[in-house]
């Protein structure tokens, strides 16, 4: 990585991913205006307001090469927004993102798979979508096919495949590169148990060569196994950054507390409802005796 032309700013070059004060803003109100008619109607009625919603607020994340990071948080905390910012799909409203290396993302495997094409054609199409060139795919074709275990179905259209087969195809294409950064979603629902093991092995193999990992998960057991660092997001803000072990424990106690609270709330509700039921019963009894 000795780039002669780079500015000798070692501190900057050290980070493979540098997320700097990133804020991502959505507009809640105009998101449902999507045609001209509505636009003009709202314009005349003066209802074209801007309702701000910050999916991420001043998020900082500095990742060094070879580290394994977990992104944890409840639903809607901004985990996938952060991943989208890192993989260039979403431009931040404020702040900057620097990524020094190739990214392979194992989220939504096979987003580019066309069900009408055959497996063979899809390997090329999907590969090109991920940024490989044709020569590279040619050279890795056998490897992809072998890993996906789809040798016998190469020339049949993917729409006839089971969902497991489709994601196997997607996984095999996505992991044939040796990326600098690997982004993995917890729910790797690829095929059967055996294939999932194979995927785990493949990922661990990639990590053993010094690939940087970004792992999104709710499962703290998996996080402890795979990661040494963690970032905890809550409502778009960074709650904790640091060692995976500590944050996992904290997160677990927090989640347990929330669950406990929820259980208590439900129990309380149930008690109230039971009381009500009891009262109604009493009333009915009374009215019945009155009639007699």
């Amino acid at each position: 990585m000795d780039n002669i032309f780079s500015v000798p700013d070692l501190d900057e070059n050290e980070y493979i991913i540098d997320v700097n004060n990133v804020t991502v803003r959505f507009n809640k109100s105009t998101e449902n205006i999507n045609d001209l008619k509505e636009y003009f109607v709202k314009l005349i009625k003066h209802e074209l307001m801007f309702q701000e919603f910050l999916a991420l607020q001043d998020v900082n994340l500095k990742i060094k090469k070879g580290e394994a990071w977990a992104i944890i948080g409840t639903n809607g905390s901004g985990k996938s927004t952060l991943l989208k910012v890192i993989s260039k799909i979403l431009k931040p409203y404020k702040g900057s993102v620097k990524v020094n290396g190739t990214v392979a993302s194992l989220i939504e495997l096979g987003a580019g798979i066309d069900p009408k094409l055959t497996a063979r054609e899809n390997i090329y199409l999907n590969g090109c979508i991920l940024g490989y060139n044709k020569k590279f795919i040619d050279s890795k074709f056998d490897e992809i096919v072998e890993f996906s275990e789809l040798e016998d179905f190469l020339d049949s259209p993917v729409q006839n495949f089971s969902s497991g087969m489709t994601s196997r195809l997607g996984f095999s294409v996505a992991t044939v590169v040796q990326p600098d950064i690997l982004i993995v979603d917890e729910v790797l629902s690829v095929g059967d148990v055996l294939f999932r093991k194979k995927c785990m092995n493949k990922m661990n193999e990639m990590l053993s060569v010094g690939t940087t990992l970004l792992f999104v998960s709710h499962n703290m057991q998996q996080v402890r196994e795979m990661c040494n660092k963690a970032i905890w997001l809550n409502h778009g803000k960074v709650l904790r950054v640091g060692d995976a072990e500590g944050i996992c424990n904290e997160y677990e106690t927090k989640i347990a507390a929330i669950k406990e609270e929820e259980r208590a709330r439900r129990a309380e509700q149930e008690r109230l409802l039971n009381e009500q039921a009891e009262m109604i019963k009493q009333k009915r009894k009374l009215s019945a005796t009155d009639k007699k």
Binding site: I89, L125, I129, K134
Partner: protein, 297 residues
């Protein structure tokens, strides 16, 4: 350690980035073509038969309608319609290119220019296939007239088609980005296409306007027809491409005139200017709004 290629690469988000994804362009175009013609020989036959049928109907209807008949009217018609269908089909498909690929754009980073570009390019390939109909009609006329209508001069169609392709790219980019924000653009465009069709001199001769203008002048009125002709001839790029296209396939078929005598160089200059202008406008707006796509698809 994997090499991070730091060669002269186009800026992220610019149109030229598509060259980085040129293998993807090939894959997307070949997908469209394959899906259209796969597993049916009739797929291709239809794409030739369809324009022929429409041409026959139009030729019959309009030769009854107009007194002043053009020589080789069917060829005149088909030439105009082929170019019109190319631009119209390309832009019509490009319009939906971004919104149709929403799932993909939400999941991976690909140059967004790629999707309208691939649609327009696959329509270009389709267009080349559709030329079969033109060849058939020219062949038939060659027999009827007893002389060969084919010559190397015909190959000049590359020039108008290249201009039309660049023009369609510009318009396609512009409308594709607009369609992300305003989903009713498709309807508006369809209405616009109908007007465009009538303003492109596909089934009539522009000379009719001048005759009408003469009548208007003789009657002591304002020659509105002449203004109309001026608008079509100078402000409708599509007509300019159709006219150029006819220089190369229809004009050599008319016996009375040597074909280079009618060619007006100005048409080529004007056509090229429109193409480049539209391309610049289209890419400018597309580039400006592409970062917001993800919020609306």
């Amino acid at each position: 350690m994997s090499s991070t290629s730091k060669s002269i690469s186009p800026k992220e988000g610019s149109f030229w980035e598509v060259f980085k994804f040129k293998d993807l362009l090939y894959q997307l175009v070949s997908r469209d073509i394959k899906l259209k013609y796969r597993r049916s020989f009739l797929g291709y036959v239809w794409s030739v038969l369809n324009p022929l049928l429409i041409m026959t109907i139009m030729a019959i209807v309009f030769s009854f309608l107009f007194q002043r008949n053009l020589p080789l009217f069917a060829l005149y018609l088909l030439a105009g319609r082929t170019v019109f269908e190319f631009v119209n089909g390309a832009v019509g498909k490009a319009l939906y290119a971004i919104t149709d690929n929403a799932t993909l754009l939400k999941k991976t980073y690909v140059s967004k220019f790629m999707f309208p570009l691939s649609k327009i390019t696959s329509t270009l390939v389709d267009f080349v296939f559709n030329l079969g109909a033109l060849v058939i009609v020219m062949l038939v006329f060659s027999f009827v007239e007893g002389r060969c209508l084919f010559s190397f001069w015909n190959l000049g169609i590359v020039i108008p088609i290249l201009q039309a392709y660049i023009f369609a790219l510009g318009l396609g980019f512009f409308l594709a980005q607009l369609h992300v924000f305003f989903r009713d653009i498709g309807y508006i465009y369809n209405a616009f296409v109908t007007m465009w069709l009538y303003c492109s001199a596909i089934f009539y001769d522009i000379g009719m306007f001048y005759e009408k203008a003469e009548q208007q002048i003789n009657a002591g009125g304002t020659p509105y027809a002449k203004y109309m002709a001026f608008i079509i001839e100078n402000l409708n790029p599509l007509y300019i491409y159709i006219k150029q296209f006819r220089y190369f396939v229809w004009v050599p078929g008319i016996e009375s005139v040597p074909y280079w005598s009618v060619v007006n160089v100005w048409d080529f200059v004007l056509g090229a200017i429109y193409a480049v202008l539209m391309f610049i406008v289209g890419t400018y707006f597309f580039k400006r709004s592409q970062d917001k796509f993800i919020l609306y698809i």
